[in-house]
């Protein structure tokens, strides 16, 4: 497997007035094609910050991030926009659907940003919401909204899918459905997924698990036999 994303000595500092928070303190990592990565760690350990940096949502103070060998130019806003547009897909904890668009339209929106989109209608069917395609987010449950959000993220046909606590706001049954969708995507399309979670049980579906502590990767655990989300009990 080839390296898709690589980070070397990544530092990130948040400044609020005189207060500085060193969120990442020289993080090194590699993400390979087709991997399912889970990032675990306590609150404030830096896991979401790493996701943001990888996704091009935030810039790091120091270090180098490469995507398929090309250095991500943090200083250039247009490059960052293009990077996110072409390569990155996001799934958020609170879904972040556009309230003025129906489920299908939310998915189509992402398709409009991509030069090689997947079929929005098929994706809506794949996430099991064909009958709710014309519904607005306000009339859908949290689980349904998250499935729409996943379909939307996938519609761009991204190279990497980044998920920030995608099940954080869902019950266990719905969470399993959502994780299964992500797991299937990873398997079927051979595209890497990086997922941040608090839930240690979810780590069982990953190929590798990054354990974060105090802004650094404390250790990485490899999982030789990732489990199907439907087999996990929590």
């Amino acid at each position: 497997m080839s390296v898709m994303v690589k980070g070397e000595n990544i530092h990130k500092i948040y400044r609020t007035g005189d207060v500085e928070v060193h969120a990442l303190r020289g993080v090194n990592f590699e993400i390979y094609d087709g991997e399912f990565i889970v990032i675990l760690g306590p609150s404030g350990s830096g896991k979401s910050t790493l996701l943001n940096v990888v996704g091009g949502l935030e810039t790091a103070e120091d270090g180098v991030l490469t995507f398929r060998g090309e250095t991500v130019d943090w200083g250039k806003k247009s490059f960052m926009t293009e990077y996110r547009r072409k390569h990155i897909g996001f799934v958020f904890q609170f879904y972040n659907l556009l309230p003025g668009l129906t489920a299908l339209e939310n998915v189509e929106l992402a398709g409009e940003l991509s030069s090689d989109p997947l079929d929005p209608k098929k994706l809506i069917e794949d996430v099991g919401l064909a009958d709710r395609a014309k519904n607005y987010p306000s009339s859908m449950s949290g689980g349904q909204q998250q499935r729409v959000a996943i379909a939307r993220a996938l519609c761009k046909n991204p190279d990497v899918l980044l998920c920030d606590e995608p099940t954080g706001a869902l019950d266990s049954k719905t969470s399993v459905q959502v994780l299964k969708l992500l797991w299937d995507f990873n398997r079927n399309y051979k595209k890497p997924i990086i997922m941040v979670t608090h839930n240690a049980d979810i780590a069982r579906i990953a190929n590798r698990v990054f354990y974060f502590k105090d802004g650094v990767i404390d250790h990485i655990a490899e999982n030789q036999n990732p489990e199907n989300p439907e087999e996990i009990n929590w």
Binding site: G56, Y83, F94, E112
Partner: protein, 778 residues
């Protein structure tokens, strides 16, 4: 990016109250802009076409009398292309009614005239034909063939009404003794030139001489030579076309409309920008997570902002579109008012350029407001997609001591005001704007009434103004008048046309000579301060002083052909800004002392016993030879009519201001309450009752209202100043100040609007579904 645009559009539709509010405010601005400008353009086109048709001259001179041959020789002056002239004479009418004293400015008609044409409704007049101006014709309903008797120096002359006549030079015909035109006592008339010459006993002579200039020449180039050439013929007045009384009066009316048509829409559009800014800014602030999400997905700032800009442009377009339906009616109404008043004979049309300009201005306004509000998109970090925005702190003011012990809701209500200062400022500004606009516009009638009351009943309380054809000693005239039964007070004054000179500058004015102890023709400035002329001095009207660059204490020269053919030095004892009218005032004693002529009055002012004005007027016919009579109450009535279009515009703007204020207050209040649905829902879940929340809302609304009223008063002073500047003319210097009565009424109206908005907020609170509040994530 059609999906994102769709989202922006649907969110706008969800905020339809606010969006419709913004559209309506823009629409009001464009309604005033389009309507008034279209009215002005059509009026100006009609006026210009009227003037072009009449081939109006470039320069006008008024003389006691000049032979035709001498006038024609003035073409020798370099820069003068042609000279023409007319015999014009004020003559009284004798035949209408025994009680009426009406006068005509009779013009001798010459078929060979090529300039300054007078338009007749029929054939050129034969010896006994007479054409009369449209106002007098309408007033007395003259029909073709009616007998009209004129009387001059006791000699009666019979004429037959042949039709109506008009001319651009007589659009605004005001008798020398009045402040406003009144067809019931004075208008123009046209008779055969030869017949008029016989009446005046002047053959081949002009009293009005007009000049056409060569290309490239201006009035200033030939003024001095014309003055020198006409001085021997008793030059009474000399001015260029734009200063000609009638044309100037119309131009000033148009100017007021034009200025109001620009100034007031600017106010409305500024408010629309403010409102749109606040609405969109709140929408963007609320949606920053979603905007961050879009950025996280790779959308560019341009793609995101353009959706809002298109929305802003659409709001502007809809505002202009709505206005474009109504503004033509508004414009036509204004146009018809001027067109019929001045007899332009013009036709109303919709100027496409103004329509297009309205759309462009409205759309640019929408886009600018949108850009100002959504430019914060540039600052939204895509990482904000990952987390909901933290609640903003706002300003945490220390609670006033009386609120420390108050309940939680009172505290929340007070803190909400300070926590959302922009909301507070918006509602307060809406109240203040509406208050200020309505107060300033609504104060105009009060100021006008007070000015007219003071002028006609306190400063100049005479009932009848008689222009005499035979001059006499002022005291003698007054004594004669006092012998008439029903006369309480009488005063003779002198009114003469003349020239005021200061260095190279000069101006022509009707000048007044009065006694030191003026009784019923007091000279009072706009601050109600009395002024008296002094020996050897002149009280000078402020507009003339400004024109000639004269200050108090300066020495000026006066030339009054009817008194002397030499220029006399006077020092400016004071400069007076009169509310209405205004001229130069001298003491009667100056006549013998400075001009070397005996004291001579040609105008008689009479105050009559209550209800006896008509009796006295009838007796005046026998007692005095007069060319004109003005009844003060009628003059006041006509002056009010003259101000009708201004009053109409101020009333409309008052209405628009009230509507705009109500819309803005309502919309911002509703935005405010929608932002707080979660907070208020949580309070309800915690067990708070609706009434308590309603009281809290009322407390908040009252705070906004009080702030608005506090800001509104100084703002109304500013608006009054704008209105004062718009209305100020050479002969009108009214200072608009906020009237307490209007302030009081507006205070109550604004209070009602604010409380109604509070009630609407309360209804929204009643509709909150508590289960929805539980689903909220922040």
């Amino acid at each position: 990016m059609k999906s994102f645009w769709k989202n922006v559009l649907r969110l706008a539709i969800r905020n339809k109250g606010s969006m419709i509010g913004a559209i309506l405010i823009i629409s009001l601005g464009m309604l005033v802009f389009g309507g008034m400008l279209n009215g002005v353009v059509c009026t100006r086109t009609a006026k210009d076409s009227y003037i072009d048709r009449a081939n109006v001259s470039d320069i006008f001179a008024s003389v006691v009398g000049i032979p035709r041959s001498a006038a024609v020789s003035l073409t020798d002056i370099k820069g003068i292309r042609s000279v023409s002239g007319k015999l014009v004479q004020n003559i009284r009418m004798a035949s209408i009614d025994s009680d009426d004293l009406t006068s005509l400015q009779v013009i001798g008609f010459d078929e060979n005239e090529s300039s300054d044409l007078v338009f007749l409704s029929g054939e050129p007049p034969r010896e006994n034909d007479i054409y009369i101006g449209p106002r007098m014709q309408k007033e007395f309903n003259f029909q073709i063939g009616d007998v009209i008797d004129l009387t001059r120096d006791g000699v009666d002359m019979k004429f037959f009404f042949a039709g109506v006549c008009d001319s651009p030079l007589y659009m605004d015909v005001i008798s020398e003794s009045a402040y406003a035109q009144d067809g019931s006592v004075y208008d123009i008339a046209v008779i055969d030139k030869t017949r008029l010459e016989k009446i005046c006993e002047k053959t081949d002579a002009y009293t009005t001489v007009t000049f056409m200039l060569e290309n490239g020449y201006e009035f200033g180039d030939v003024k001095q030579e014309i003055e020198a050439a006409l001085a021997p013929y008793g030059l009474k007045d000399l001015r260029e076309r734009k200063e000609q009384d009638s044309i100037k009066s119309v131009n000033e009316s148009i100017k007021v409309m034009l200025q109001a048509g620009v100034a007031f829409p600017v106010m409305f559009l500024a408010i629309a920008v403010f409102m749109l800014y606040s609405i969109l800014r709140k929408m963007v602030a609320r949606d920053q997570t979603l905007i961050g999400t879009m950025k996280a997905f790779g959308m560019t700032d341009g793609e995101l902002i353009s959706a809002y800009l298109v929305q802003g442009a659409a709001i502007g377009f809809l505002g202009a579109y709505l206005a474009s339906w109504i503004s033509p009616y508004f414009g036509e109404y204004l146009f018809n008012d001027s067109n019929s008043y001045y007899n332009f004979g013009g036709v109303y049309y919709t100027d496409i350029t103004i329509n297009a300009l309205s759309f462009i201005i409205a759309m640019v306004t929408g886009v600018v407001a949108s850009y100002l509000s959504v430019k914060m998109i540039l600052q939204i970090n895509p990482a904000q997609a990952m987390r909901p925005p933290a609640p903003t702190g706002g300003i945490n003011l220390r609670l006033p001591s009386f609120l420390e012990k108050a309940g939680s809701l009172a505290k929340i209500g007070f803190k909400n005001v300070t926590r959302n200062p922009i909301n507070g400022v918006l509602v307060a500004t809406a109240v203040a704007f509406s208050f200020a606009l309505v107060v300033s516009m609504g104060s105009f009638p009060g100021v006008l009434n007070k000015s007219l009351d003071m002028k006609y009943r306190v400063f100049e309380p005479f009932d009848i103004n008689v222009t005499l054809t035979r001059f006499d000693d002022p005291d003698e005239i007054a004594r004669s008048a006092m012998s008439i039964d029903g006369v309480i007070e009488a005063e003779g004054i002198g009114s003469f046309y003349g020239q005021i000179l200061k260095g190279q500058k000069s101006d022509y004015k009707m000048m007044k000579f009065v006694n030191e102890e003026v009784a019923i023709r007091k000279i009072v400035d706009k601050d109600d301060v009395y002024h008296r002329p002094v020996a050897g001095g002149v009280l000078l009207n402020a507009a003339t002083a400004k024109k000639l660059d004269v200050k108090k204490g300066d020495t000026i020269q006066i030339l009054i052909p009817e008194l002397s053919d030499r220029k006399v030095d006077f020092y400016v004892s004071d400069i007076v800004t009169e509310v209405i009218g205004g001229t130069a005032y001298f003491l009667f004693d100056s006549m013998p002392e400075c001009f070397g002529v005996p004291k001579t009055a040609n105008t008689l002012l009479i105050r009559t016993e209550k209800g006896r004005t008509n009796d006295v007027k009838a007796k005046l016919k026998e007692a005095f030879n007069s060319s004109m009579v003005t009844i003060a109450s009628r003059d006041e009535y006509c002056f009010r009519l003259d101000m009708k279009s201004t009053s109409l515009v101020t009333t409309m703007l008052m209405g628009f201001g009230l509507i705009a204020g109500a819309i803005i207050t309502y919309c911002i209040s509703m935005i405010n309450i929608r932002e707080r649905i979660t907070e208020l829902g949580t309070l309800l879940i915690l067990g708070e009752d609706h009434d308590s929340i309603g009281k809290m809302i009322i407390v908040e609304q009252m705070i906004y209202f009080l702030f608005g009223a506090v800001i509104g008063f100084p703002m109304s002073l500013g608006f009054c100043r704008v209105l004062t500047n718009l209305l100020t003319r050479d002969d009108l210097a009214m200072t608009i100040i906020p009237g307490w009565g209007v302030c009081g009424k507006m205070f109550l109206v604004e209070l009602a609007v604010v409380l109604l908005s509070g009630f609407m907020q309360f209804l929204t609170v009643e509709k909150i579904k508590l289960t929805d509040i539980l689903k909220e994530r922040c």
